[in-house]
Amino acid sequence: MSVAGNGSGAAIEYRNVFKAFDLPVLSGVTLSVEPGEMFALFGPSGTGKSVLLKTTIALVTPDRGDVIVGGESVYFGGRDALERIRRMVGFVFQYAALFDSLTVFENVEIGIPEESLKRMRANEVAHRVSESLELVNLDPSQVLGKLPSELSGGMKKRVGIARAIAGRPEILLWDEPTTGLDPVNTAAIERLITQLSDELKVTSLLVTHDIEGGLEMCDRVAMLEGGRLRFCGLPEDFRASKDPVVNAFTDRKAATAALDTLEIT
């Protein structure tokens, strides 16, 4: 099994993570993401990419193994460490996961940690919310009072991103942020991911099916297959890989050929 990164001083480090629901999903994944890095995680559907991402802030608890974020253990560091880790991390959900009953303002405001909210005055909170919306190219005056049901799919995703960055995190986790979007919106969100990673100087871990987008944007990429790490390295190495499973993700003809020979769920 290949191991990504050297692990010392890593922003995120997955250590031998196992997780099974009815069937095994993750079977010993070890991987590290370095500070400031943009890292993409590819793989067939159902192979555990989103589950791995969710173990980073204990939304899913692994059966075995540990995750280290910013030098602290997610699962053995205690409640205070987990709270610190969650403040450090922003999570962008696949379908935005906005709170239906809250306005856009309230949805973004909730992304600011409670401790910070207590210290901030009302106008500072309003400024932070507006600033976060502007960073995702939304006009606050147009959307602040709207409910999620009044927004388009692309706008919902942007509000979800604004919520994730409202707490000014050091790490951003992106769970298939372009799923369900048209090509123009996909390009816009991808540009936004790069722009935010540069402007906010965050570490980004991106789970995506958009292979070309991921290879273009990211410093390193990895591929999960059957709950294990199949590839980890530079985008150019991924493109040049001779592994048929990796090839199936970069070449449509290879993908069709792989259907006959590989067990892809």
Binding site: R87, F93, L98, F99, D100, I110, P113, G160, G167
Partner: protein
């Protein structure tokens, strides 16, 4: 080797059912404990409680009063039918008041609240669970118990005794009016009969029931909502199970109350 035959299957079913009940009971206990801790640590927002009081309490007043009014009428008319020419009519006052206060008021209000509030809570939290809104809440460092569960449970605990008190009053009033029109029983005679068998403890008993229902309904609803999985179908399944679970719990608690508190 798996046991075969009727007896084997029976024991397997009993074992599964028992472990499922134990699992639910354990999770409900933990949920109640966590809500208690959130309340003691003053981690529950007053604004959220007031919002839930409006949804759970104020918005339920009308349906509870309508149900109570009908209960009063039905109790009075059926009582009158059974007692005609056999028992003095003033006993009707006691029959209506005691039936409404001890049984019909709390239980029917609880059943109405299961449908109006319990099902709503499970469906709402279940939808939030399957659409990752609960995960989103956790990801921004908020505790779903403090933000979602506790305000609903607190609001229900406050609302339920008040709603049952209103239902009792409405049931007695409509029972009295119905007795007046159908049996020719005057209000003075009605209240004479009512006072004859009345104990102040009966009202306390009624409100105690209301309080226990007020704790049970939202706890089960929240518990079932938070363990929902499997998309829209899962939300439907969870809500149905929750309504069945809440209704059975109310009836079991109702059956346990007389031997525990009336003898």
């Amino acid at each position: 080797m798996a046991p075969s035959g009727f007896v084997g299957r029976f024991f397997i079913a009993v074992e599964r059912w028992s472990s499922s009940v134990a699992e639910h009971a354990g999770q409900l206990g933990l949920l109640a404990w966590n809500i208690g801790v959130a309340c003691v640590r003053l981690r529950v927002s007053k604004r959220d409680i007031l919002r839930q009081l409006h949804i759970i309490g104020i918005q339920s007043v009308m349906i509870v009063l309508i149900a109570a009014a009908l209960i009063g009428v039905v109790t009075s008319q059926q009582g009158g039918y059974q007692m005609q020419s056999q028992i003095p009519l003033y006993v009707m006052g006691s029959v209506v008041v005691e039936s409404v206060v001890l049984e019909m008021g709390p239980v029917l209000t609880a059943i109405v609240m299961v449908g109006r509030v319990g099902a709503r809570i499970t469906a709402e939290l279940g939808t939030m669970k399957v659409s990752e809104q609960i995960d989103a809440l956790v990801s921004v460092g908020r505790d779903p118990i403090e933000v979602l569960a506790a305000p609903r449970v607190i609001a229900m605990i406050i609302s339920m005794p008040l709603l049952v008190a209103m239902a009792n009053l409405m049931g007695i009033t409509t029972g009295m009016i119905s007795a007046q029109y159908t049996l020719g029983l005057g209000s003075e005679t009605f209240f004479y009969g009512a006072r004859l068998f009345w104990h102040s403890y009966d009202l306390l008993y009624s409100l105690m029931k209301a309080l226990v229902f007020g704790v049970s309904i939202p706890l089960i609803a929240v518990h079932m909502g938070l363990r929902t999985s499997g998309g829209a179908e899962g939300v439907g399944r969870s809500t149905t199970q929750s309504v069945v679970f809440m209704t059975l719990t109310i009836l079991v608690i109702d059956a346990l109350f007389p031997p525990l508190f009336l003898n």
